[in-house]
Chain length 227, copies 2
């Protein structure tokens, strides 16, 4: 199995939150794979075979799947005898909903929080591409985004309220053990750890304790990332 991922100047450190979801899903199902690192400007040509302009792409023998959600569903169906990512159809629906729910309230403000730091870890060849495509998207320069990162961070943190509330009584976002709901959320924090030193949580946030539990479950995979 080959998993195509996104890297910066350090080709051993993938940082895409969507690739993280699949790395965690593959670990959940105890499946081995080879990582194929790509820079932003390499993606288009390298993934023509998959008809994809984004990572992750998973190549499993003759089966090529793009988009993290479709890959997760592919793994769940193809490796149904291994631990389940969704725990059935209702759980799958809940994960799919969570997939949408975090885009505007969490991923968007977190992207604005991290974007200048992400730029800094890219290879020089990628920096121009990243700036010219992302600055119009966020409506300001990276320098302005860095200067105002606390505004974006405050929105992100405010929108974590329901997740912190949930964790007051529950261990994992998938119930008694981690599964795909947890990976959707954990991948956001791994994205941040791999790209930035900005502290995302308050010390007493229940999410902190959940992150410790997640780190313990995925020690080898995430050990290289600073917390």
């Amino acid at each position: 199995m080959k998993l195509y991922e996104l890297v910066g100047s350090d080709h051993t450190q993938g940082f895409s939150p969507f690739v993280w979801r699949i790395k965690l899903a593959l670990a959940h199902k105890n499946l081995d794979y080879e990582l194929i690192p790509l820079q932003f400007t390499e993606i288009k040509d390298a993934l023509t075979f998959a008809d994809s302009k984004t990572v992750p792409v998973l190549e499993d023998g003759n089966n090529v799947t793009k988009d993290s959600w479709d890959i997760a569903c592919y793994l769940e169906e193809t490796y149904a005898d291994r631990p389940s990512l969704f725990g059935g159809n209702v759980g799958r629906a809940g994960s799919k909903l969570l997939n949408s729910q975090i885009i505007m309230p969490l991923l968007a403000p977190l992207f604005r929080t991290l974007v200048a730091d992400i730029h800094d870890i890219l290879d020089d060849a990628d920096k121009d591409y990243f700036r010219s495509t992302r600055e119009p998207r966020i409506g300001c320069t990276f320098e302005e985004a860095r200067e105002n990162y606390k505004v974006s961070l405050a929105i992100f943190k405010k929108n974590l309220w329901s997740y912190n509330k949930y964790l007051l009584t529950e261990e994992y976002f998938s119930g008694e053990a981690p599964a795909y709901n947890d990976y959707i959320l954990y991948s956001m924090f791994l994205w941040a750890r791999g790209t930035s030193n900005i502290k995302l949580l308050d010390d007493d946030d229940p999410l902190n304790k959940w992150l410790v539990r997640m780190d313990q479950s995925f020690g080898d995979l995430v050990a290289h990332l600073k917390r």
Copy 2:
């Protein structure tokens, strides 16, 4: 089984969104029950036996349960041989998360949108109580809330984005058939229908088609409500 619910001057029309969740859950499990209507100012005394200051309360023989989430879990465990509300532990976790997720982005702005209309359907005895407890909570008078309802409604509608997006590819929030995720969301719209004439959705919102499907599934229960 007795379900204690909240009514206005018309004692046959319960409108609490949290009671709606349980009515839908009881219908899902095909369980019969008697409705006990209570006005706001009757709740405190009437529910002392349940140590509850809010509806719903469910009395099932000697078992008394308060809080909609706990009642849903009680029904799921006690009537485990009937159709499942959660579809397993991961689905249950997803529903519990959704329970929290809609409070700030959806229930709060929807309450502000509806609050003046809710006031108007209350019995006179309840109107003073409702005003004196809710106006401090929303930080303005009901008259001001009515005047500015479009601001609150716009927030509510903006925060429906992920739910509309989800429904572009899925039939129900619980997957292929309605279950508790759907009831959490449907109950918001039933609350609005039972209290107000304000139109919540745009005509082309995927949520409209989902509401039609939900109405078809629960025809008898919701037929008296205008759409």
